[in-house]
Symmetry: C2
Subunit: 241 residues, 2 copies
């Protein structure tokens, strides 16, 4: 009979109970990376850059025991696929709010040592466009990474926006570049985006690219209050000065 584990807060509070499951280091980042679809152990190791295999194993076991992750092991197949259960998928709104908070208060250009992936920013872009109800007509935009052949489709219609980790066949605009270049481009402040970005190719006719730039003008959102983070300093309206 286990006594209350170390990670328990013993509060009658749903936030505390949630954090008992999600508060361990790396746990929410594992969920984040599984939100875009099932992944293998090594896929996660790659994306979570910095986690040790022992910790990843531990997190996946914990999340499985808590019913957030399901493990697909098929006999005769080497790969083990990890995917979110409905309860795990249901964390998306909470992760979105945390990411938006980070965007409002901690936005900063990527350090040279930081691996940059466009998908994290794309999730925030989708959310910001959706919340703002931006409507520039039906839009299908594809972002394709050249160094890893990932692709994402951002679709908008009637002010609602969706993001899927797959390339649509008929994009109005297509962005091509390395993961880092694409992330840097999305992190540029809106006014500078029309000029393009080194390493990023934009395909699509001028009118379509114009719609893309118009919609993206709301990203990133401005901080609601004064930039009160001690090291954040100036708020220029972009992630990059």
């Amino acid at each position: 009979m286990p006594t209350t584990p170390r990670t328990a807060y013993a509060h009658f509070c749903m936030l505390a109970k949630a954090l008992e499951r999600l508060g361990d280091r790396w746990a929410l980042l594992v969920v984040r990376d599984l939100l875009t679809g099932p992944k293998r152990f090594t896929d996660l190791m790659d994306r979570l850059g910095g986690i040790t295999p022992r910790t990843l194993t531990q997190r996946l076991r914990d999340l499985e025991a808590d019913g957030l992750v399901q493990v697909d092991r098929e006999p005769g197949r080497r790969e083990v696929w990890y995917r979110l259960t409905p309860a795990g998928l249901d964390l998306a709104p909470a992760l979105d709010e945390l990411a938006l908070w980070g965007l409002r208060h901690l936005a900063a250009p990527p350090a040279p040592s930081e691996p940059a992936h466009p998908e994290h920013l794309l999730r925030s872009v989708r959310l910001v466009l959706d919340r703002a109800g931006i409507d520039v007509g039906p839009a299908t935009w594809v972002v394709r990474t050249l160094d890893r052949d990932d692709a994402f489709t951002l679709r908008g219609r009637d002010g609602r926006w969706s993001l899927v980790a797959q390339a649509a066949s008929d994009p109005d605009v297509e962005l091509l570049g390395t993961r880092r270049d694409l992330a840097l481009y999305l992190a540029t402040r809106p006014q500078a985006r029309a000029a393009g970005h080194p390493g990023v190719t934009m395909r699509g006719d001028e009118r379509e690219i114009g719609r893309f730039l118009d919609a993206l003008a709301v990203f990133p959102p401005l901080s609601t209050g004064p930039a009160s983070h001690a090291t954040a300093g100036q708020q220029t309206g972009g992630l990059v000065d």
Copy 2:
């Protein structure tokens, strides 16, 4: 020159950056308890039951350094008051989403060893009423704890709801009880609430109490998916069987 601290993920991801500030044990619970207003060190020690003074000191220092908490020290006064900065207050939506997720997937009656405070549930009640757009006419409901003399006012009008940690002077309904009894009452499933609860006094005329019960019928919300938590078992529509 400090190298990247242990708590850094070194990802260009706003969620990761947020978790670098908020991911330490107890950190978000400190924010939670400061969301209802400024508190003293010992107030926080009391509410956070289980935290050690060393850890609380550490968290408050970290949060202060990150610009989420401001410390009010007045010369000649013993007490030190901690309050959230605008950036700290801006975490409310994220904490709300996490608490709602906990409510949907981890709801369980309070264990006998769990101190129960009504305020955490009241935050969720406000949010659920507000999201559902419940409109039962202008409503002012006061919840008053007898064992600590805390009071909260839940106000609704035109489907919008607010919660403040203070007693309104003209409540339509007033609930009185110990912190535990009030929490247990709010955790009851809606159908059982009309019968009242031992230790909880409800003041107000019958019609007003009827409005109160009608509105509260949407709390707690049902889980979106099947109750997939390994230990959660049945979902009865209430926190208490």
